[in-house]
C-alpha cells in the first residue's frame, strides 16, 4: 500500500516534469526559436501549444510586436551650418528571429548596435538639408530617406524598420537665443509699425475732418453771399420800380429827407438870407410874390 502510493506519486511527478519541459506555448505577443545544444532548430511564429524535447532543446523568446527604439538626443549640424538637437525614434519588428539571434542575440544588444546606426543615418541624411527643409513638406521625405537607410542596415539583424520619425527638433541654447532675439525685434518692429499706422490714420482722419469743416464753411459762405446779393438786388429793383413811377416826387421827397437827416442836428449852423423862399413871409406878410407885384 505504502509502496504503491509512492510509485503513483513518483509517476505523477515525472509526468509533470516531462510535460513542463516538453510543452511550451507561443502567444500572440512573441515568437520562439527552438535551440538544440545551442543550435537553432526551428522558429515558431504562430501562437499555440508546442512540443519540444525536454532537457535537450531550449527556447529563446522574442517579441513579435512592433517594438520601440528611442535613442537619446543627437546634436548635429545641418547643411546651413545650423546646429540642432534631433530626437528620432524608430518602430521596428523582428521578422527574422534567426538572423536576430545570430547578430544581436538580445534586444539590448540590438539597441546598442542599431541605435548608433540609426543616429548615423539621421546625421547623414539631415546633414544634406538646411533647416528650412525640416520645416516644410520635405520633412516627410527626409524621414522616408532615413527610414530607407535604416531599413537597409536593419536587414542584417532580421529586423524590419516600420517607421522612423523625427520627434523634437530643438535649437541649441545659443541659437534659440538668436531666434528669440529675432522674434523679439520682429515684434517690436510690428509694434512700432502699428503705432505709426495709428498715427497715420489719426492724422488722416483729423485733417479730413478739418478739410470737411473748411469746405462746409466756405460752401455756406458762398451760399450766404449769393443770398445777400439776391436780397440787395431785389431791394434795388423793387425800390427802383416804385421810384420810377414818380420820378419827380422821388427826387423832391428824397431830397427833403436827405436834408432833414443831413442837417438836423444841434451843431448845425445856418447862415440864412431873408431873401430865401422860406422867408418869403418873414418881411412881407403878403408874400414876396405879391410884394413884387
Amino acid at each position: 500500500m505504502k509502496l504503491s502510493l509512492a510509485i503513483f506519486g513518483l509517476i505523477v511527478m515525472v509526468i509533470g516534469a516531462v510535460a513542463s519541459g516538453a510543452l511550451f506555448t507561443v502567444t500572440e505577443k512573441n515568437q520562439v526559436i527552438v535551440l538544440q545544444f545551442g543550435n537553432p532548430q526551428k522558429v515558431v511564429v504562430k501562437p499555440g501549444l508546442y512540443f519540444k524535447m525536454p532537457f535537450i532543446q531550449d527556447l529563446v523568446y522574442y517579441d513579435r510586436r512592433i517594438l520601440d527604439l528611442d535613442p537619446p538626443f543627437e546634436q548635429l549640424t545641418l547643411k546651413d551650418k545650423k546646429r540642432i538637437n534631433v530626437d528620432t525614434y524608430a518602430r521596428y519588428r523582428i521578422v527574422d528571429p534567426l538572423a536576430f539571434f545570430t547578430s544581436a542575440r538580445t534586444e539590448v544588444g540590438f539597441l546598442n548596435n542599431f541605435g548608433q546606426i540609426l543616429n548615423g543615418s539621421v546625421r547623414n541624411e539631415m546633414g544634406k538639408h538646411p533647416l528650412v527643409n525640416l520645416l516644410s513638406k520635405k520633412r516627410d521625405d527626409i524621414m522616408e530617406l532615413i527610414q530607407a537607410r535604416a531599413s537597409k542596415a536593419a536587414k542584417r539583424f532580421g529586423v524590419k524598420v516600420v517607421d522612423v520619425r523625427i520627434g523634437r527638433t530643438d535649437l541649441p541654447e545659443e541659437i534659440s537665443k538668436n531666434v528669440y532675439e529675432r522674434m523679439r525685434s520682429e515684434r517690436i518692429q510690428e509694434a512700432n509699425e502699428l503705432r505709426a499706422e495709428g498715427d497715420e490714420k489719426k492724422i488722416e482722419i483729423m485733417s479730413n475732418a478739418d478739410r470737411q469743416k473748411t469746405v462746409i464753411l466756405a460752401e455756406a459762405n458762398k451760399t450766404s453771399q449769393i443770398l445777400r446779393g439776391e436780397g440787395e438786388a431785389s431791394k434795388t429793383s423793387i425800390l427802383g420800380n416804385a421810384h420810377n413811377t414818380g420820378k419827380e416826387f422821388f427826387d423832391f421827397s428824397r431830397s427833403l429827407e436827405a436834408m432833414r437827416k443831413g442837417l438836423n442836428s444841434e451843431d448845425t449852423s445856418l447862415i440864412l438870407s431873408p431873401d430865401s423862399e422860406f422867408f418869403r413871409f418873414f418881411t412881407n406878410p403878403m408874400g414876396r410874390e405879391k410884394m413884387r407885384k
Binding site: 502510493l5 509512492a6 513518483l10 511527478m13 510535460a19 519541459g21 506555448t25 502567444t27 535551440l35 499555440g48 525536454p54 535537450i56 510586436r65 512592433i66 520601440d68 525614434y89 525640416l134 520645416l135 516644410s136 513638406k137 520633412r139 523625427i166 527638433t169 535649437l171 509694434a191 502699428l194 503705432r195 495709428g198 498715427d199 488722416e204 483729423m206 475732418a209 470737411q212 469743416k213 462746409i216 464753411l217 460752401e219 455756406a220 459762405n221 450766404s224 453771399q225 445777400r228 436780397g231 440787395e232 431785389s234 423793387i238 425800390l239 420800380n241 416804385a242 421810384h243 413811377t245 414818380g246 416826387f249 423832391f252 438836423n264 449852423s269 440864412l272 438870407s273 431873408p274 422860406f278
Partner: protein, 358 residues
C-alpha cells in the same frame, strides 16, 4: 541563457521554463510523499482510506482550478481570450468562463474609456496645478520661430487584439508619435497662424496624421480628438508679443480719438454753415420786405401827393425846413445892408453859447 553547468548528465539546457523540478531527485520526493502521507493520516482518522483521501484532494484542487476560470468583463471592457497563447475569441461584458492558466489566458482591456495623453504640460486638472514642460511644448514653426504649444490627445482602443498584441507600449507610442506629428504639422504652419486662426486646422491635420501613424503601427488605437490647450509665444519673448498687443490698442485708441474729433468738428461746422445760410436768408428776406414796404410807402405817399400836388409839395417843404431850422443855430443876414463889407461872424462863440445855453 540558462546555461547550467552543474546537474551532471542533464545536458546544458536544463528546463528553461523554470516550472517543475529541473533534475528529478528521487530521495527528496520520497521523503516529501512520506511526510504528506503522515499528514493525511493525522487529518483523517480513518487512516485506512488514504487513497480515497488523496483522490478527494486532487478533485478538490481540480475544482478550485476550474473555478478560477470565471472572469468578468465590465461594460467598458472587452474580453480577449487566448488558448495556449492563440487569440481564439473575444467576449462582451458579463460573467464568463474559460479554461484557466496555463491553458487559457484572458485579457480585459478598456475599449470604451477615452484616454488622455497630455503633451507640453502635466496636471491642469481640478486637483493639480498646470505645469509647463517646455522641452515638450517648444517647437519650430515654418518661419523658423518658436512657439510654445500645449495639447492633449484623446484616444481609445479601436481594436483590442491589435492593441494588446501588435505593439509594445501603445501608450508611450501615442505620446512619441503625437510629439513627432505635432512638430511636423507646426513645421508647416507659420507662427502667426499657429497663434491665431490656424488652431482648428492644426487640430484636424494633427488628428489625421497621428491616426495615420498609429494605423501604420497597427496599434488598434482610435484618436478621437486632438485639442490645443494653449498656443503661446515662448516665455522669453512674451513681453514683446504683449508689446504688440499694447501697440495695437494704442493705434486703435488714436484712431478712435481722431474719429471723435471728426465727429465733433464736422457736425459743428455743419451747424455753423446752417447758421450762416439762415443769417444770409434772413438778411435777404429782410431787405426784400423792407424794400417792398418802402416801395409801398413811397407809392402811397406819391398817390396822395399827386392828387393835391401844389399844396402837398409846399407842406412837405415847410415841414422839413421846420425840422431843420428848429434844431440848428441860425444867423440871418440881409445881404443888402452890408455890401462891400465882409461881415464878422464869431462862429465858434455862437457855438459855445448855444452849447452853454443848453
Amino acid at each position: 541563457m540558462a546555461w547550467n553547468p552543474q546537474g551532471g548528465g542533464q545536458g546544458p539546457w536544463g528546463g528553461g521554463g523554470g516550472s517543475g523540478p529541473t533534475g528529478p531527485q528521487p530521495p527528496d520526493i520520497e521523503e516529501m510523499l512520506r511526510r504528506g502521507q503522515e499528514r493525511f493520516r493525522t487529518l483523517m482518522p480513518g487512516g485506512m482510506k488514504t487513497g480515497r483521501g488523496i483522490m478527494l484532494i486532487v478533485v478538490a484542487l481540480i475544482g478550485i482550478w476550474l473555478a478560477s476560470g470565471f472572469y468578468r468583463v465590465d461594460a467598458a471592457q472587452q474580453g480577449v481570450i487566448l488558448l495556449f497563447g492563440k487569440h481564439v475569441k473575444s467576449s462582451g461584458p458579463g460573467l464568463h468562463w474559460y479554461f484557466p492558466t496555463p491553458i487559457g489566458t484572458v485579457f480585459t482591456p478598456d475599449v470604451e474609456k477615452v484616454q488622455r495623453t497630455d503633451i507640453g504640460f502635466r496636471g491642469g486638472s481640478a486637483r493639480s496645478a498646470k505645469r509647463n514642460v517646455s522641452e515638450e511644448s517648444l517647437m519650430l514653426t515654418s518661419d523658423q520661430n518658436i512657439v510654445d504649444l500645449d495639447f492633449s490627445v484623446q484616444w481609445k482602443v479601436k481594436n483590442a487584439g491589435d492593441f494588446l498584441f501588435k505593439i509594445r507600449g501603445p501608450e508611450a507610442t501615442v505620446k512619441r508619435a503625437a510629439e513627432s506629428a505635432m512638430r511636423e504639422v507646426i513645421g508647416q504652419t507659420s507662427l502667426q497662424l499657429a497663434l491665431t486662426t490656424g488652431r482648428a486646422e492644426i487640430e484636424t491635420r494633427m488628428r489625421i496624421l497621428l491616426q495615420k501613424i498609429l494605423d501604420s503601427y497597427k496599434s488598434g488605437i482610435l484618436v478621437t480628438e486632438v485639442k490645443l490647450q494653449a498656443a503661446d509665444p515662448p516665455q522669453a519673448v512674451i513681453d514683446a508679443f504683449n508689446e504688440v498687443q499694447r501697440a495695437r490698442q494704442d493705434g486703435d485708441r488714436k484712431v478712435n480719438e481722431a474719429k471723435a474729433y471728426l465727429n465733433k468738428i464736422v457736425p459743428t461746422a455743419r451747424g455753423q454753415a446752417a447758421k450762416m445760410i439762415q443769417d444770409a436768408t434772413a438778411y435777404k428776406e429782410r431787405l426784400v420786405k423792407d424794400a417792398e414796404g418802402e416801395a409801398q410807402r413811397f407809392l402811397s405817399v406819391y398817390k396822395s401827393f399827386k392828387s393835391n400836388e401844389a399844396v402837398a409839395r409846399q407842406r412837405l417843404y415847410l415841414e422839413t425846413m421846420e425840422d431843420i431850422l428848429g434844431g440848428a443855430t441860425k444867423v440871418i443876414m440881409d445881404g443888402k445892408g452890408s455890401s462891400g463889407v465882409v461881415p464878422y461872424l464869431p462862429l465858434p462863440e455862437l457855438k459855445k453859447r448855444s452849447a452853454g445855453g443848453k
